[in-house]
């Protein structure tokens, strides 16, 4: 277990280091292509070219100090990173063995590439850490997050049951979501479900589905899932952007949200105040915004790998995409639960666009007061007993 987390830590560290020094590998792999094996092939500095090179820290400091920069030096490409010299490969009878060669390559030694497009770095050892992190940590533990949330929801439902509207439905409704809100919501929801199902099949198909279905059926399903996932990815981005814009108003955190948290969202037996959206809904919105956009960015990188040449970023994208996916699916399960079977009257807002007055007063009292101009009166506790006003209306 410790070894797996160490693998993850090593990979994350290597990604951060790579990002910190990302200028060098992203400039041109060809610069690194020297010193494959001998002094003659590994000059200390690469021959200068006429192509412009990026500024260095020295250039920036000189510019800040108002000193003149050497234009000729600026036009030249930077010296390549000092190569790790490879031992001459003399075979098993020589002074150094093959093991030395492989050890040097594993340590990041550069070789002369066989073509202009090839990288001089022959081994990317972070790939091994990435593989171990993906297989031994993510594939092993990530599916448990949505599964665990599902289990907790079932447990919560069995213990708490459906949250009823205290005093029942009043029969009077208040408009809550416009048609464009509902279309934006369901557009995103339907594409999200397709993406989630196909994505989970891709992510955990090998450990979960393969033993159950066998290679032949699994390969067909996986091929279909991959095509579907790639196809709906851009549609998901479109739906995500529409939803982000449409639902942004009212989703910024307010003082009432602090009270809502302190009162446990109404679960502690005291009423938790809320505007049009409560703290949970706002948090879900910002998860959708940030994690969703992160999923979109990493997904685009995976679908169009030519966008970035550095392999490490692709490896990082697979990890972040998988983690973002399980987080979004897990939270979405909670959202779906509370928006459907978990709470009476909640689904009306997205199906009909209107909610019952008693529901609004109970769960979004500040919004209710703003919309109706009436004072929201609450019952004493967080139970389902009707408040005095509702009880009076019923009789």
């Amino acid at each position: 277990m410790l070894r797996q987390w160490m693998a993850g830590l090593t990979f994350a560290l290597s990604v951060m280091l790579s990002a910190a020094f990302s200028v060098a590998p992203m400039v041109a792999p060809a610069q690194e292509a020297n010193a494959p094996g001998s002094e003659a092939e590994a000059p200390a500095t690469a021959p200068a070219t006429d192509k412009p090179r990026p500024g260095t820290l020295e250039d920036i400091l000189r510019r800040q100090q108002g000193l003149k920069l050497d234009p000729e030096r600026l036009l030249r490409r930077p010296a390549p990173p000092a190569p790790i010299p490879l031992p001459p490969q003399l075979g098993t009878l020589g002074r150094q063995s093959d093991a030395d060669l492989w050890r040097a390559l594993k340590s990041g030694a550069y070789a002369r590439p066989s073509s202009d497009t090839a990288s001089g770095k022959l081994m990317q050892t972070a790939g091994e850490e990435w593989r171990r992190l993906r297989r031994e940590v993510i594939l092993k533990y990530a599916p448990w997050l949505p599964a665990g949330v599902l289990g907790l929801l079932v447990l919560f439902y069995l213990i708490r049951g459906r949250i009823r509207i205290r005093g029942g439905r009043s029969g009077r409704t208040i408009p809550r979501f416009s048609m464009s809100h509902r279309i934006a919501h369901w557009f995103l929801a339907s594409v999200f479900i397709l993406m989630a199902i196909s994505g989970l099949m891709i992510l955990i198909g090998r450990p979960v589905l393969l033993p159950l279905l066998g290679h032949e059926v699994h390969s067909v399903l996986l091929s279909a899932a991959l095509q579907g996932h790639n196809l709906f990815g851009p549609v998901f981005i479109l739906a995500l952007l529409i939803a982000i814009v449409r639902f942004m108003r009212g989703n910024f955190f307010q003082w009432a949200d602090v009270k809502w948290i302190l009162r446990g969202g109404g679960m502690l037996g005291v009423h938790a105040p809320a505007h049009h959206y409560n703290f949970g809904e706002k948090t879900w919105y910002w998860i959708v915004v940030f994690v969703g956009l992160g999923m979109a960015a990493t997904g685009l990188l995976l679908e169009f790998p030519w966008l970035v040449e550095t392999l490490l970023y692709h490896q990082l994208a697979t990890i972040l995409h998988a983690l973002g996916a399980v987080v979004m699916i897990a939270v979405a399960l909670g959202h779906i639960y509370i928006g459907s079977i978990g709470m009476e009257g909640a689904l009306d807002s997205m199906l009909k666009g209107e909610v019952d007055e008693n529901w609004a007063r109970e769960h979004h009292d500040l919004w209710y007061e703003q919309v109706t101009g009436k004072k929201a009166v609450h019952g004493g506790g967080g139970d389902d007993t009707p408040p005095p006003a509702a009880a009076a209306e019923q009789t």
Partner: protein, 214 residues
């Protein structure tokens, strides 16, 4: 004969025959209904009205455009995307040339197909969501509308899932659903693909004869 051969052979020809015969039967049936003789002297051209009626309905009026822009956009996205995918996807062009009429035409490149399919999917989902979200649409929609939407969605989806052309079973699944769609088409509201011209034209002709401008 295996299941795949059956789906791609006799079942397809049967479905196509039902589609052609059924669509012709419905189309001719509607034309044969005719209309009651209008004894009033004409104040304009019914023929011109027929054409105007058809063309004018492609553009929503200002008052409605503001309220309905989302589903107008969804409608155009779905129908244009579906048309492009149906007649210009490379596998479809190959199929039409090799199995149906012997001639083909230039197909969309893969990226063009992907974009057309995504536009079509986005449009179809928006239209379907509106169908159950809008109170009026929900009221006037029945099982035929939902079956038509879902069947079309599944045909498009399975077609895209089979895009890699690596598995015969995925292609057979797509073909099977296409056959179901072809058989269902003439007897459902999917027939609006052909009859929209008649309904728009009839309204336009009636107005045109009365001298009204659409």
């Amino acid at each position: 004969m295996g299941l795949v051969e059956f789906i791609e052979g006799p079942a397809f020809w049967f479905a196509l025959a039902v589609f052609v015969a059924g669509a012709l039967w419905r189309f001719v049936g509607i034309i044969r209904i005719g209309h009651k003789p209008d004894l009033a002297p004409p104040k304009g051209s019914a023929g011109w009205g027929w054409i105007r009626g058809n063309l004018r309905h492609f553009f929503p009026r200002g008052l409605f455009a503001e309220r309905t822009w989302m589903h107008v956009l969804g409608g155009y996205a779905f129908h244009l995307g579906l048309f492009a995918v149906m007649f210009f996807a490379a596998p479809h062009v190959d199929f039409i040339r090799e199995r149906l009429i012997g001639v083909g035409w230039p197909a969309l490149p893969r990226w063009g197909f992907i974009i057309a399919a995504e536009i079509a999917f986005a449009g179809l989902i928006v239209l379907w969501v509106r169908r159950f979200s809008d109170p009026v649409m929900r009221l006037i929609s029945d099982w035929d509308d939902h079956v038509g939407s879902w069947l079309t969605f599944l045909v498009m989806l399975t077609g895209c899932l089979a895009l890699e052309r690596a598995h015969v079973s995925l292609r057979a699944l797509h073909m099977g659903l296409v056959e179901l769609w072809l058989i269902y088409f003439p007897f459902s509201r999917l027939m609006h693909a052909f009859t929209f011209m008649l309904s728009r034209g009839a309204t336009g002709a009636s107005y045109g004869r009365k001298g009204m401008t659409l």
